[in-house]
């Protein structure tokens, strides 16, 4: 599980069929103090409608991700698992 902040979104018309209907959010990993890490943002699927600059937990569990998109042949890995309140 990665602590991230939503820093944008991405649009792709040409994608693996399992991504259809999923919104794609740009996530930036953060340090414990809330500062962004130096690595580039990555993309996670979002079924929680997380808002811009909200802090989220992102799972990297491919098995769970395949369950979420209901496709056992899906290559997705990162999905937003929850939105942090505080």
């Amino acid at each position: 599980m990665l602590l991230c902040r939503v820093v944008g979104n991405a649009v792709a018309t040409c994608a693996h069929p399992s991504l259809r209907g999923s919104s794609l959010k740009l996530c930036q990993r953060e340090e414990a103090d809330g500062s962004a890490t130096s690595e580039p943002p990555f993309v996670a699927i979002d079924h929680f409608n997380a808002g811009l600059h909200q802090r989220v937990f992102v799972s990297t569990d491919g098995i769970a991700a395949r369950g979420i998109v209901d496709d056992e042949h899906s290559p997705v890995r990162n999905f937003i698992q929850g939105i942090l309140d505080d």
Partner: protein
């Protein structure tokens, strides 16, 4: 999935039988500062290490793609296939608004 720019392709004369008719791309990860404009103008090649990525989507030169690395890259295949990175999406637009403070 990570964001990368297609900067080339790779062809192999001799390869594993599972890879017949496979397309391989050379993908360079896009840095955060170039994400916004990446789909309109090709970003400069970053210093981040480039990868060879299996492609089923038909991505072309300078396309901005999402790619997945690791065990999940083999999920789309029916037969066990030794693939470690695969393209998952070709991005039309990326909106990046870094959080400040």
């Amino acid at each position: 999935m990570r964001i990368g720019q297609v900067i080339g392709k790779a062809t192999m004369n001799r390869q594993d039988a599972a890879f017949r008719a496979a397309r391989w791309l050379v993908v360079n990860p896009v840095e955060g500062v170039h994400c916004n404009s990446a789909c309109d103008t090709p970003p400069p090649v970053s210093k981040l290490p480039s990868l060879i990525v299996y492609d089923q989507l038909g991505a072309g030169l300078h396309d901005i793609v999402g790619f997945v690395e690791g065990a999940e890259a083999t999920a789309p295949f029916d037969q066990p296939t030794p693939v470690d990175a695969i393209t998952v999406a070709i991005f039309d637009q990326i909106h990046h608004r870094p959080h400040e403070g």
